[in-house]
């Protein structure tokens, strides 16, 4: 597969059934807490409250009173990896665990065996998506967990698990260009229906995402959907640190090596200080090589 692919999400069609959340967990064998009242109440139907090491996808719930005073706007959103082209997580990953699918789908995937659990990817992501299994102070065995776009399914010609289970067809998966076309058409239709703030999200953000979202309301109604999202500039600055360190190390070793060579054969005479006469004496010759004139304030 060499074509760029994308997950499509239409917030205006989503019924927030969260079948996609369940399908993601089932396919990827991600456990859920089963203790009585284990879930944390967020005051909404959103559950869990946010992404966690075993939850790669959540449907977000946000609401606001309508300006005309009749009812509320209730916005369902999809919060998961955006699969960015300019992916901050890939930029900062020190172990090469995170990378773009070499088949060219644009999906951001990872090799858990290579993950060293540094959690830098989370700080590099403008959407705060990557999560890690365990956050122990000792730092052992921590591994990244985030949406892979069900790369194992995609490579076998199937759609991601979340997409296949979506009954209102809010989710789709296909070539990115087709998904963008579909999204723009849907936004045009929503605007005709009076949703003036409807927009396509993910087209240009972070160099172009491989999750394309149709937002029914303005962005403020959705969670972690920043305007003009781009990886923090520092993720690129960090990229300069390695060559800079290499230049520094090579430079100092070369300089010290040269210094060593110029010092080969260096010898100096043993000195003795006569504290009464204030003379520094060359021990081998007995010659006074320096006299300290205390009366003149020398020391």
């Amino acid at each position: 597969m060499s074509e760029e692919m994308a997950i499509y999400y239409d917030a205006s069609k989503c019924t927030a059934c969260r079948g996609c959340q369940a399908a993601c967990k089932v396919w990827n064998e991600l456990p859920s807490p089963i203790d009585f009242n284990a879930g944390v109440c967020t005051g909404t139907y959103q559950n869990p409250a946010d992404l966690d090491p075993h939850t790669r996808l959540i449907i977000t719930f946000n609401e606001r009173e309508r300006e005309n005073g009749y009812g509320v706007d209730w916005a369902f959103g999809r919060r998961s990896c955006m699969h960015c082209t300019n992916a901050g997580c890939v930029n900062v990953c020190p172990s090469g665990a995170l990378y773009h699918d070499p088949d060219g789908t644009g999906l951001v995937i990872y090799d858990k065996d290579k993950c060293i659990g540094c959690q830098y990817c989370r700080s590099g992501c403008p959407f705060d998506v990557p999560r890690h299994t365990g956050v122990g102070v000792q730092g052992a065995g921590i591994k990244i967990d985030k949406c892979t776009g069900c790369i194992d399914r995609v490579r076998n010609g199937r759609k991601p698990a979340c997409v296949t289970t979506c009954q209102p067809n809010a989710l789709d998966f296909g070539p990115r260009s087709e998904m963008l076309e579909k999204a723009h058409a849907r936004v045009d239709a929503l605007k005709e229906k009076g949703f003036a703030d409807a927009s396509v999200y993910g087209e240009t953000e972070c160099g172009g995402c491989h999750t394309i979202m149709v937002l029914k309301y303005d962005r403020s109604m959705y969670t972690h959907v920043p305007e003009n999202a781009e990886p923090n500039g520092m993720t690129e600055a960090l990229g300069f640190m390695k060559p800079l360190a290499a230049v520094g190390a090579v430079g100092i070793v070369a300089g010290l090596g040269l210094s060593f060579l110029t010092g080969v054969g260096y010898k100096r005479d043993r000195l003795y200080y006569d504290e009464k006469a204030h003379d520094e004496i060359d021990v081998d010759t007995g010659e006074v090589v320096k006299h300290i004139d205390k009366e003149k304030g020398e020391r």
């Binding site: 290579k114 700080s123 102070v137 010092g263």
Partner: protein
């Protein structure tokens, strides 16, 4: 009649506590640099993922030692710590300025360039050690945020990125100043032969070396009687 008997004499330069503190921190530094490379160089961690995990864990343990040992040392010997600060924060003398001007030519031609007398801590030492201490403080603070900010609390993306940048910049500073420090301190540079003894053996410096490196300080110590005969001249 000219005197011919010049005994070999030593001056005590560093206490046992100073040496122990230095040596523990130095070993910790070297281990932190090696283990840090497994996070800093992707190909290294990718090639040895299992080793990388162990290195990351050891980076935290040794990092804690790197931070705690000097703090404990300062707390248990406040007078020594005060004296340490006093040695580093002193007014520069004309000889200090001359030393810095001659430093690079001297490093590349020690047989021809002669350095001026110096006090207990050379001006170059003050700059290099000061840079290392500053880098150490920044690397410790940023390391703590990177560590605890991803385990005990969530530091936030920007804070983590800033701290990582600080950590990396200080790591580079450590490489540059650390290698130069080892080159001089371990006596690899020919005129500095014998200086390893100061921190890794008995903390003493021979009178001859002291006069060469820290003339003002050496003469003062000898005049005050802080010198001991190591070996009688036969």
């Amino acid at each position: 009649m000219a005197r011919t008997n010049y005994p070999e004499r030593d001056i005590q330069r560093h206490s046992l506590q100073t040496r122990l503190t230095h040596d523990v921190v130095a070993i910790a530094c070297i281990w932190l640099a090696i283990s840090g490379l497994f996070v800093f160089v992707p190909s290294l961690a990718a090639a040895f993922p299992d080793v990388a995990q162990g290195m990351r864990m050891s980076h935290r343990i040794v990092g804690a030692i790197f931070i705690i040992v000097p703090i404990l040392s300062a707390i248990t010997a406040p007078k020594g710590f005060k004296a340490f600060l006093h040695k580093y924060f002193v007014k520069w003398t004309p000889e200090d300025v001359e030393f810095m001007k001659k430093f690079v030519p001297y490093m590349l031609g020690p047989k021809k360039v002669h350095m001026p007398d110096q006090d207990e801590v050379k001006s170059g030492q003050r700059i290099a050690d000061g840079a290392m201490v500053l880098a150490a403080i920044l690397i410790a603070v940023s390391g703590l945020v990177l560590w605890l900010g991803t385990s005990v609390f969530h530091a936030g993306a920007t804070a983590e990125l800033v701290m990582r940048l600080v950590h990396d910049v200080c790591f580079i500073l450590f490489i540059v100043f650390g290698l130069a420090h080892i080159y001089l301190g371990a006596g690899i540079f020919q005129p500095y032969r014998g200086t390893a003894r100061l921190m890794w053996k008995d903390g003493k410096v021979s009178e001859s070396n002291a006069l060469y490196h820290w003339g003002f300080w050496a003469r003062k110590e000898i005049e005050e009687g802080n010198v001991e005969v190591a070996k009688e001249e036969k």
